[in-house]
């Protein structure tokens, strides 16, 4: 088990060994962001951000009910364009556009949520011969700041090199 606060979690997410998933539709590259991570013990969620095709998405990680799917991530886009202001003619057109956009966003959110959940549940983090896998998680407010406790499996195939740079 390992306890991570928001900065630890950011370091974990953005570690070079963590390779975010390719989003299957157009093989777009997802990029996790190190900053603005928050751990909310009230909702038992870890909130972090990711960039995809220039758009910023908020990802909310929580514990799932299924043993096979302990990590559940829900994704929402953060920079949705505000279409409230505009002329009447334009509003109708924009409204249609917004609906299309909303449908696309929902589809994108759903797909991204599914991909990220799968990514976390199946992650294998390899550190010089040691393989870490995600098993379970919990959020706690104990300590100086809230933290997420990850239960991880470890399999040590070989001991790390003596010369490994720490």
């Amino acid at each position: 088990m390992v306890a991570l606060d928001s900065r630890d979690f950011g370091n974990f997410l953005t570690h070079p060994k963590i390779r975010p998933p390719n989003i299957s539709a157009d093989n777009s590259k997802l990029q996790f962001l190190r900053d603005d991570i928050s751990i909310d013990p009230i909702s038992s969620t870890v909130n972090f951000y990711a960039l995809l095709d220039g758009e910023k998405w908020m990802c909310s990680l929580r514990r799932g009910q299924s043993n096979e799917r302990r990590a559940v991530i829900e994704v929402t886009r953060t920079n949705v364009v505000d279409l409230d202001d505009g002329k009447e003619e334009l509003e109708n057109a924009l409204h249609e556009l917004q609906e299309d956009n909303s449908r696309n966003l929902n589809a994108s959110s759903f797909q991204l949520s599914s991909e990220l959940s799968k990514f976390f549940n199946e992650i294998v983090f390899e550190l010089d011969g040691s393989f870490l896998t995600f098993q379970d998680m919990m959020v706690t407010e104990k300590g100086a700041s809230p933290s997420v406790i990850l239960k991880m499996g470890i399999r040590v195939e070989r001991f790390p090199s003596r010369n490994l740079a720490f």
Partner: protein, 202 residues
């Protein structure tokens, strides 16, 4: 025969100790302290075993002193090795239990082994607290001697111990400063970058 087991163990332990000693000059003083400590405890246990009146009791005591000597020394060495490899930490604790007859085969077998720590930094990872346990860790004694390397003969696997991690968080982390939080562990995680990290990284 009663003296044979302790001598074998002490020899093997000294080899491991010397290898680790060579690995890090920084850890020299701590390692020496650990060796002295373990040796004194071992001598005490050895003398004590000779005061026992019956062969059966002496035999039992010899096994106990073997286990105590092995686990004590290996734990010390593991802590030294971890501290020498981590970029920063505020606590490293290692509890290694020796296996009976663990030194009498081609391998050195220890376990269960638990590593606990706080505020570890290394390998670009950080964590506030970590606790990891493996049941068995089997080292290739021949390769230790021939190649001066610690090599596993079988993969080590972790197992969950308890929720003591939570108390570790509430106990000690208020005074912890997180400046350059770079990494786990190992996960963490990984914490587990010393030869004995295998015991402890989860």
């Amino acid at each position: 025969m009663m003296y044979y087991y302790p001598l074998l163990q002490i020899s093997a332990l000294l080899v491991v100790a010397l290898l680790l000693l060579l690995e890090s000059a920084k850890s020299f003083q701590q390692l020496s302290t650990g060796l002295s400590f373990a040796s004194r405890r071992g001598e005490d246990a050895f003398r004590s075993s000779h005061k026992k009146p019956t062969a059966v009791r002496a035999s039992t005591d010899t096994r106990e002193s073997d286990s105590f000597l092995s686990s004590g020394l290996i734990s010390q060495l593991a802590v030294v090795a971890l501290k020498a490899r981590l970029r920063a930490q505020t606590s490293v604790v290692c509890d290694v239990r020796a296996q009976n007859n663990g030194f009498l085969q081609g391998s050195i077998v220890v376990g269960p082994a638990t590593v606990k720590g706080r505020s570890w930094q290394g390998l670009g990872l950080t964590c506030r607290a970590i606790e990891a346990t493996v049941d068995i860790c089997e080292l290739d004694k021949r390769r230790i001697i021939a190649e001066k390397r610690l090599v596993l003969t079988q993969p080590c696997k972790s197992r969950l111990l308890s929720q003591r991690l939570l108390s570790a968080i509430s106990d000690g982390l208020q005074v912890t400063s997180f400046r350059r939080l770079l990494g786990i562990a190992d996960f963490t995680i990984v914490f587990l970058q010393s030869p004995w990290k295998g015991h402890g990284c989860s």
